[in-house]
């Protein structure tokens, strides 16, 4: 089906014999409806003469039309030729004219399509926009607000019941950030306070490592008045950047 995938060879810019013929009609400002096509034979042949160097099958179609035009011309000059078996000669002048007119319409349409293309006034659709794994829809903002209220109520109650050490899940990084915030706000804090009333082993370790990290980064000073006394964590004058609100 796709026999000729290479670039098409065109004859001096003409894509086919019909195009060349139409070009001559337009060039000579003739009317397709009334022009005697045979009269164009000489001009057509003159153009075709330059085609010798082109592939045979390309030239052949131009020559086939040229021969038709020469015959039409001969017939108009010698009306006596008319009785020659018309069926063998392929299309009549009227048929050729009809084809040419149809082709003229196609060319005109192609030109207006080309015009549209050049104007760049094209449309665009939405490409995707909806991912394959569709996010949920139809959430109720009221339920969300209610959940927020509930959380706030729970958090308030928790605060009233005295803050319990919030479990062992804290990472050292988060604990460090937390202690840094406290120290920034209050200047100093006791180690016992950081541990809370009933610290788990994990909580104590995380808190202690966090303190060591802060000390290493020269964010805090550690003071201890005596053996086994409470450690006081005091903020250094030039502490690290503290973005926490």
């Amino acid at each position: 089906m796709l026999a000729s995938e290479g670039p098409r060879v065109t004859v001096e810019g003409f894509d086919g014999p019909l195009e060349l013929l139409l070009e001559l009609v337009e060039e000579k400002k003739l009317d397709i409806l009334t022009v005697r096509l045979g009269d164009l034979a000489d001009a057509y042949l003159a153009r075709v003469r330059g085609l010798a160097a082109l592939p045979a099958d390309e030239v052949a179609s131009f020559l086939a039309l040229a021969s038709r035009l020469v015959l039409l011309k001969a017939r108009s000059l010698l009306p006596a030729l008319e009785p020659l078996a018309p069926e063998d000669e392929g299309e009549s002048e009227e048929e050729l004219r009809a084809r040419l007119m149809e082709y003229a319409v196609v060319r005109e349409r192609a030109a207006s399509l080309g015009q549209r293309l050049r104007s760049g006034e094209r449309a665009f659709h939405r490409e995707g926009g909806t991912p394959v794994d569709l996010p949920p829809r139809g959430g109720e903002v009221g339920a969300l607000a209610a959940a927020w209220t509930r959380v706030l109520a729970l958090a308030a109650r928790q605060r009233q019941e005295d803050m319990v050490a919030p479990g062992e899940r804290y990472s050292v990084e988060e604990r460090t950030a937390e202690i840094e915030t406290i120290v920034t706000e209050r200047g100093a804090v006791a180690f016992s306070e950081l541990l809370g009333p009933a610290p788990t082993l994990g909580w104590a370790v995380v808190t202690f490592i966090a303190l060591l990290d802060l000390y290493r980064r020269v964010v805090v000073d550690l003071e201890q008045s005596g053996l086994f006394a409470d450690i006081l964590i005091r903020r250094r004058e030039r502490g690290g950047a503290l973005a926490d609100r």
Partner: protein, 176 residues
């Protein structure tokens, strides 16, 4: 202010990634096909002079940007202008106005071999196969695509530019 049906149709066409048929729209928004038709007409009117446009290919509908805003959209998407050779444009013109049409029919009209141009147009998804003609050899039929409508800024095939040349019996109607 739109009717409820028009708003629903609008929202569905907005999220749709491909054209939606009128029947499908009716089922989704819970309306009759006739109500959907009225809603589509309402939307088409509402989009006049806006940045959006309602396009359709037969009974399939899609929301697209209006061609007047192509510059801004192309700038945003970084899209290059489509280039089509004059030869390909001729083949495309025959297919657009005569679809569905076989390669042989295109070649008869253009008077040249159209293998290459049809291949190029297929590659650019401006045309597509539309089944086969029930005739000896069952030749492939070609028609234009949604991309064709988009690239040429046509809301539908009805907007194909009319030729100025009197057509007469030579140029058949563009049967669907």
């Amino acid at each position: 202010m739109r009717s409820q049906t028009a708003s629903a149709v609008e929202a569905v066409l907005f999220v749709a990634e491909k054209p939606v048929s009128r029947g499908e729209l009716a089922k989704i928004v819970g309306a009759t096909p006739r109500q959907v038709e009225a809603a589509l007409a309402e939307l088409a009117e509402a989009y006049a002079g806006s940045g959006l446009r309602l396009a359709h290919d037969g009974d399939d509908w899609q929301l697209v940007t209006s061609p007047e805003q192509a510059t801004a959209v192309a700038a945003y998407l970084g899209v290059d202008r489509l280039r089509v050779s004059p030869a390909s444009l001729e083949t495309l013109a025959v297919i657009a106005y005569r679809q569905p049409v076989t390669r042989a029919e295109v070649e008869a009209i253009r008077g040249v071999n159209c293998d290459q141009t049809i291949y190029t147009l297929m590659q650019r998804r401006l045309i597509e196969e539309r089944g086969r003609r029930e005739a000896p050899g069952r030749p492939i039929l070609y028609g234009t695509t949604w991309e064709f409508l988009e690239c040429f800024g046509l809301a539908s095939l009805d907007e194909l530019p009319r030729a100025l040349t009197p057509e007469g019996a030579i140029t058949g109607p563009s049967a669907p």
